[in-house]
């Protein structure tokens, strides 16, 4: 295979994207893993440097469709750090609401895909159906299902209309019973326990050594959350809890995500309750020379932006570090030594790309057999079936 590796850049490996994983296995055990990325490199950092500060938000939004709030959020914070300026209170609350809405739909999306990998397509369909409700909420608030274009340096672009709020709260409340049902169905299911407990364990030391972020780290007992540790937006003004579990296996990562959805709902409702009045934009005129950093908690972990300005209307340097970039190397600690049939769900557990598994090549040295992503999903599903039969679950 030709080696054209562009390992860094505005690249966010998530599901449905082209990228390469090369697993080396002996028999059933995985002995090595290699990741090839770069199929998605679009030169966004460079593009952003050719746009004005205001235009950049739109490009930054398109780094990743699922995190189309996290990146502009981090970027605008970086720009505001250069000036420095305080964002109006109302804008802070609106930003928080949008960011949490995104977290809910992102976690539900992951949960669905995880269910799909385990052979529980019902979970996939249920969660994605629930996700539609959240997308509707986002459409009411922002005007689009994804790529919300709500953020601008100094505030937000659109206000939330007061007549929309009861509609939105009602919609959010309406998904809670289904979510509770889903939570019970997923967390109490003996087969899911058997498939995910003790699988792909990332110990606390490894999580710290690999600089794991977000739910991946919190599932290993590392209590790190930018929202708590260096609060931004309205996170220090509303009540919520950080979810931390200690086993570091796939099951704990699942639990963290499911419980975080409930916390996000809590945050959104609190924000609506306390939504202050006033301006939504600080009306930034000029951006002085200087540099600024902005970091926020994206659904997958800390998202970090660095912006340098030379006093003109364009950034001279813009650096992006997406959370998956830090989480990917944890595969070295979690996948190696596991069965091939578990590899899919372990790879999916950090919430990366799912298309990548479709393009994953497993080189079985001893039997000279090449598994495609499809075979792997099949293997994974067969394991669930066997377990089900053993446990007598219908």
């Amino acid at each position: 295979m030709a080696k054209t590796i562009i390992p860094i850049g505005p690249y966010h490996p998530l599901q449905e994207e082209p990228e390469f994983f090369i697993l080396t296995v002996e028999g059933e055990k995985v002995v090595d893993i290699d990741v090839h990325i770069g199929y998605n490199h679009r030169g966004i950092e460079k593009l952003s440097e050719t746009k004005t500060f205001d235009q950049s938000t739109f490009v930054i939004e398109r780094i990743c469709g699922i995190c189309s709030t996290s990146h502009p959020f981090a970027y605008t914070r970086a720009v505001e750090d250069i000036i420095p300026i305080e964002v109006p209170e109302r804008a802070k609350y609106i930003r928080t609401i949008i960011a949490e809405g995104e977290r809910i739909h992102s976690h539900l999306l992951w949960l669905g895909l995880a269910g799909h990998f385990l052979g529980y397509d019902t979970v996939f369909m249920w969660t994605w159906k629930l996700r539609e409700e959240i997308l509707d909420v986002m459409e009411i608030l922002t005007g689009n299902r994804n790529n919300y274009a709500m953020f601008k340096p100094g505030g937000v672009r659109r206000d939330i209309k007061s007549e929309d709020i009861p509609v939105v709260i009602k919609k959010i409340d309406s998904i809670v019973p289904t979510l509770e049902m889903l939570k019970k169905a997923v967390i109490d299911d003996p087969v899911i326990h058997a498939r995910t407990k003790g699988i792909g364990v990332l110990s606390k030391e490894d999580a710290i050594n690999y600089c794991a972020l977000g739910p991946t780290a919190r599932a290993s007992g590392v209590a790190r959350d930018v929202r708590k540790n260096s609060p931004y937006g309205a996170y220090d003004k509303v009540e919520w809890d950080m979810i931390v579990t200690h086993n570091g296996d796939v099951f704990d990562k699942l639990v963290v995500r499911v419980l975080e959805v409930f916390e996000s709902i809590k945050i959104i409702k609190n924000c609506f309750l306390n939504l202050p009045g006033g301006e939504i934009d600080a009306n930034i005129k000029d951006i002085p020379p200087g540099e600024g950093i902005g970091h926020i908690e994206a659904p997958r972990g800390e998202c970090f932006h660095y912006v340098r300005s030379d006093g003109t209307n364009r950034p001279v340097r813009h650096k992006v570090r997406a959370p998956t970039f830090m989480n990917l190397p944890t595969y070295k600690a979690t996948v190696i030594g596991e069965d091939i049939s578990d590899a899919t769900i372990i790879l999916a557990a950090i919430d990366p790309c799912y298309c990548c598994t479709e393009r994953m090549t497993v080189c079985n040295i001893k039997r000279k057999k090449i598994y495609s992503g499809k075979d792997l999903i099949k293997l994974s599903r067969e394991k669930t079936k066997i377990l089900r039969n053993k446990m007598g679950v219908k």
Binding site: Q15, E16, E17, N40, R42, I66, K129, N146, K374
Partner: protein, 147 residues
């Protein structure tokens, strides 16, 4: 050829190819399969292998690395086939038109039958696009058979 194409439309199997997109288009395509939109009602199915596909669904702005692969995949799809470009990126490279890594629009490399604009197009738009595609092929075949 045209008869064959018409036969494809009864149950079009779709292969989805992302050539460097932001994921939103891809997720909206997956959304089409889930209960609210459910295009499987119309016999459409996402397949995992290009060799089983009748329709190639392309998203993304086509960067240097992935376009080579896209070209190779297009050579492997059984002909006749239909190609649908989804999203502003696949149409004209949208926001990435000045990027150093996205040199040409996709339709310069692969012949595209239907364009579905939007960033991202809503699932409704994707379904409407597919309906248009079916109409287009039907009209094409009728014309040819009447001549």
């Amino acid at each position: 050829m045209s008869m064959k194409l018409k036969a494809l439309l009864k149950s079009a199997w779709v292969f989805h190819l992302s050539t460097g997109s932001c994921n939103n288009c891809d997720i909206e395509i997956l959304d089409c399969l889930t209960p609210r939109f459910d295009i499987e009602r119309f016999g459409m199915l996402l397949v995992g292998s290009i060799k089983h596909a009748d329709v190639l669904l392309i998203t993304g702005s086509g960067n240097r690395k992935s376009m080579e692969r896209a070209k190779r995949l297009y050579e492997q799809i059984p002909k006749p086939c239909l190609v649908v470009a989804v999203g502003e990126c696949a149409l004209s490279r949208g926001m990435f038109i000045h990027s150093y890594n996205c040199p040409v629009p996709i339709d310069k490399v692969i012949p595209v039958d239907v364009y579905i604009p939007g960033c991202p197009p809503k699932p409704e738009a994707i379904i409407a696009g597919v309906v248009k595609l079916i109409e287009k092929v039907k009209k094409g075949t009728e014309k040819k058979s009447s001549v």
